[in-house]
Structure formats: structure tokens, C-alpha cells
């Protein structure tokens, strides 16, 4: 027997929960989480539907919940099949070939071999701000986009670290998981907007609601008032909680991908140095819409995520510190 293949940990321990996640295979975990998320969304929607049915009649409940599920589902399907093309187009990414970006293509192919995934398509974004993102619903149809600024700023090892981070997202189906999350949060948001608008136009006090109240008598009216209140509270809270959950998951995913990148490259220092250079970058920022911001290697609006709870990315300094402690 000779050297063990690695001295680096192949298990990521979450400092917050103490939970241990195998870096080589958190794909299965992602899949389980996706299902849990779908069930949770279904449960929230069912609770909302129940409350709605108490306050209104069955037909409007069916309409509200039906529309929310349809719109959320459409979002999910679009996200599943088209998110890569949309994201690449939105970021203004152009395909890089072996001829015009030999260095980048070589680095990507090498890291793909180390990560044990097919080499992704490589794209370049014409921006001086150093950043990168990965997209694609499975490793067979994945793309990595990097900015020109990133290529100029980083040396080979640092670039390998960033590419490996993106490769980790690809290998573990993070892109699919995140688009699923966006869709579920979307469905709840749609339902809230529909019901809020309806309440605003005097929904509870009029039409079918009034008819049912007279059917049931006084007690029913009070019960209905409580139900309406519960409904409003849930409608306000559910999207907020779902959004916070999505952001928390998104932040933790970045730590996980950093740890996986350190394992793939066997070189946490490369990625740490890359993050340092990106942290110290002072220049024009990358302009992208809010919808794709969470996908990027570092938040395109560096320094603006003052409220920690609402950030899609963990602080760069914390990421560097964690890599250095490995």
C-alpha cells in the first residue's frame, strides 16, 4: 500500500447543525431534499386550500389553488428545461471554443476529469468583474460560464478552484434543486397574490361568502372570521419563510461546493486565493437581473448584501476562512 489518495476531508461538517455530508455523493441527499421540499409545498398548499374553502366556496378555492399550482408548475418546467439557455442569454455569455480559449477549455476539461463528470460546455461573459456560474439540469447537459475579468485576474490554480466549485454544483444537481426551490416558492407567492387581491376587492364579505354565512348562523360567522385571519397570517408568513429557507439553503450550498472544490482540486489554497482576489477587486460590477443572481460564484453586487438573512451567498471572508481551516 502506498499513499492514500487524499488528506483532505471528503465529508463536509455543517458548523451550524453539526450535520455530516459526504462530498463525493450529496447528489442522493439533494434528491431526497427535493422530494421533501415538494411534499412540504404540497402540505402548505393543502393547508391554504383548506382555510380558503372555509372562507369562500369550493369553486373559488379550486380556482386559486389551481392557478397557483399551474403557474408554479409552469415555472418549474421552464426552469427545468430552459433555465440554462435563459441564464446564459441573460448573462450575455458566448460559447468558448478550444481555438479561442484553449487555456480555459483545458482547465475545465482537467477539473471535469478530477470530478468524474463529462466536460461541460464553456462560455465566456464579456465583463471585467470576476465571476462565474454553472447551469444545466444534469451533468450530461451542463455549462460553465466565466467572465473575462476572472480569466485575467486568476492564475491557473485559482481558476481551477473556481471551476471546481461550479463543477461541484453540476455534479450534485444543485441547479435542478435550486430551480425546484424557486418554483415552489413561486407557487406560494402566486397564491398569496391572488387571494390578497381578491380580499382587497372585498372577497370575504360579498357573494358566496355571505350566502354561506347566513346558512350557518352566528357561530359559523365567528369561526369564519378566525379562519380568514389564519388564512391571512399564513398567506403573509408562508412566502417569507419559504424565501428565507431558499436563501439559507442557497448559502449553505456555497459552502458545500467550496468544500467539494477543495476536495476535487486537492488544493483549498487555490480557491481561497481566488476568493481573496475577487474580494479585493474594485471595478465595474456585473449587471445581472435579480432572478439569476443566486447562481453566481460570488454575489454580483458585492458589498450590498448588508442584511445577512437575505443574502444568497455567504460572506466571502467566511468562505476564505473555512477553506484555510481545512
Amino acid at each position: 500500500m502506498t499513499t492514500a489518495p487524499s488528506r483532505l476531508p471528503d465529508v463536509f461538517t455543517d458548523p451550524a447543525s453539526g450535520q455530516r455530508i459526504n462530498l463525493l455523493d450529496y447528489k442522493a441527499r439533494n434528491m431526497r431534499l427535493s422530494w421533501a421540499m415538494a411534499l412540504l409545498t404540497a402540505a402548505i398548499l393543502a393547508a391554504l386550500a383548506y382555510l380558503l374553502a372555509q372562507v369562500t366556496d369550493i369553486a373559488s378555492t379550486g380556482f386559486f389553488v389551481g392557478s397557483a399550482v399551474a403557474i408554479g408548475g409552469a415555472q418549474g418546467l421552464v426552469g427545468f428545461f430552459l433555465s440554462d439557455k435563459i441564464a446564459l442569454a441573460a448573462a450575455g455569455a458566448r460559447k468558448a471554443t478550444a481555438e479561442d480559449h484553449r487555456y480555459l477549455v483545458n482547465v475545465t476539461e482537467a477539473v471535469a476529469i478530477g470530478a468524474g463528470v463529462p466536460a461541460p460546455q464553456v462560455y465566456v461573459i464579456d465583463s471585467p468583474a470576476p465571476n462565474a456560474f454553472a447551469t444545466g439540469r444534469d451533468p450530461q447537459r451542463s455549462s460553465i460560464a466565466v467572465t473575462k475579468g476572472l480569466l485575467q485576474l486568476l492564475d491557473r490554480q485559482e481558476l481551477e478552484g473556481v471551476v471546481a466549485h461550479e463543477m461541484a454544483h453540476i455534479r450534485n444537481y444543485d441547479v435542478r434543486f435550486m430551480s425546484m426551490l424557486v418554483a415552489t416558492v413561486g407557487a406560494i407567492l402566486v397564491l398569496r397574490d391572488l387571494v390578497m387581491r381578491w380580499l382587497y376587492w372585498g372577497g370575504v364579505g360579498s357573494g358566496s361568502g355571505r350566502r354561506r354565512r347566513s346558512d350557518r348562523g352566528g357561530d359559523g360567522a365567528r369561526g369564519q372570521g378566525v379562519m380568514a385571519l389564519l388564512l391571512i397570517v399564513l398567506l403573509v408568513l408562508a412566502p417569507l419563510l419559504a424565501t428565507l429557507l431558499r436563501l439559507a439553503v442557497s448559502r449553505r450550498r456555497e459552502y458545500l461546493a467550496d468544500a467539494a472544490a477543495a476536495y476535487i482540486t486537492r488544493n483549498p489554497e487555490g480557491l481561497a486565493r481566488a476568493l481573496e482576489k475577487i474580494r479585493d477587486y474594485r471595478g465595474p460590477q456585473l449587471e445581472v437581473s435579480e432572478g439569476v443572481r443566486h447562481m453566481f460564484f460570488v454575489n454580483p453586487l458585492a458589498g450590498q448584501n448588508a442584511v445577512d438573512l437575505m443574502a444568497t451567498h455567504p460572506p466571502i471572508q467566511e468562505r476564505i476562512d473555512r477553506l484555510r481551516r481545512m
Binding site: T2, T3, R102, N106, A110, G114, D155, Q157
Partner: protein, 191 residues
């Protein structure tokens, strides 16, 4: 009733045995495939070498000995059979190419040659891919060895005729440096 229980237990045992067997075969395929990834890169490198030597010859005319050494290593590379011979030939070639690129420093016109620059990046890229492929190979070997050495795999490995696979030594080196070796003298896979 009792026969049903026995049948169910037997069926469960058979299914379990099949899954352990399949796991061993899968891991064996994975590490063998990982070796072929290294082999692909080694062949690509051997294909680029004559082109490189032709380019360098135009500028550095007196380095006949080094050119011959590179040619020999390429010959050995092409004729190599099996993992250990390939690894040895790859070492030889890495060392010779390392010297060639060091030598290029003394020829500013060569360094500025477009074709040379392209070949240099391509070969550095291949060295890097070889390093990653070797790392992936060792990971795969570790998983395979663990599977056949630990219970329950160890019960199956004997009857299946499976023995431990060998690691490739990974030298502690800097990946940014183009010349990547198979670890010099201790580079051959060891049992």
C-alpha cells in the same frame, strides 16, 4: 407458512448477494475506466510530441541528445503494455519534456513562436489532465479496494477472483508547474 418464510429469507439473501456482487463489478469497471482516461491523455501527448520537436529543431539545433531522448520515451510510450510500463514511459517523457521547456527559456525567438506557444499550453493542459485523471484513478482504486477488503465484499472477492488494485504514486507537487511527473523512481505502481 414456514416454507414461505424460508423462501422469503432465501430470496432476500440472493438479492443481497447480487447487489454486493454488482457493486464490486461496478467499482472494478470504474477504476479500469479511470485508467483509460489517463491512457487517452498519454496518447494525445505522444501525438503532439513530434510536432513540438520539429518546431524546436528550427531554433535549437544543437540539442540532438535531448531530441533522441524524447523520441525514445515516445517509442516506449507507444509500445508500453499495462499500467506500470505506461507509467514508467510517461515519467520518462515528462522528464524529457520538462527539460525541453526549460531549454526553451534560452531561445527568445522560440518562445515567441506562435506554434510553440500553442503546443506549450496544450502540453501543459495535458499534464494537468493526467494529474487529475491519476487522482481520480487512485480514488477509484481506493473505493474498489475498500469494497473487496471489507465485509461483506471480502466474502465475495475470493470466489470472484478479485485482488487488490494498485495505486499510482501521487507526488506532492504544484499543479501550476507544467512538468508533472509520475513520481520519478518510485513512480511505478506498488503492491
Amino acid at each position: 407458512m414456514a416454507t414461505i418464510v424460508i423462501l422469503v429469507v432465501l430470496a432476500a439473501l440472493v438479492l443481497w448477494g447480487v447487489s454486493v456482487y454488482n457493486r464490486i463489478i461496478q467499482l472494478e469497471n470504474r477504476y479500469e475506466n479511470a485508467w483509460s482516461q489517463i491512457d487517452v491523455q498519454l496518447k494525445r501527448r505522444a501525438d503532439l510530441v513530434p510536432n513540438l520537436v520539429e518546431t524546436v529543431k528550427g531554433y535549437a539545433t544543437h540539442e540532438r541528445q535531448l531530441f533522441e531522448e524524447i523520441a525514445r520515451s515516445r517509442e516506449a510510450m507507444i509500445n508500453a503494455k499495462g499500467v506500470s510500463e505506461s507509467a514508467e514511459a510517461a515519467n520518462m517523457m515528462s522528464a524529457a519534456l520538462g527539460r525541453l521547456f526549460a531549454l526553451a527559456e534560452a531561445y527568445p525567438e522560440l518562445k515567441a513562436n506562435q506554434n510553440f506557444m500553442m503546443l506549450q499550453e496544450e502540453l501543459a493542459g495535458i499534464e494537468n489532465k493526467i494529474a487529475y485523471a491519476r487522482q481520480f484513478y487512485n480514488d477509484a482504486v481506493l473505493q474498489y479496494n475498500n469494497a473487496i477488503e471489507t465485509v461483506p465484499g471480502s466474502f465475495f472477492a475470493g470466489p470472484m477472483g478479485k485482488t487488490q488494485a494498485v495505486f499510482l504514486e501521487i507526488p506532492e507537487q504544484d499543479r501550476a508547474v507544467p512538468s508533472v511527473s509520475f513520481g520519478g523512481a518510485q513512480g511505478q505502481p506498488q503492491a
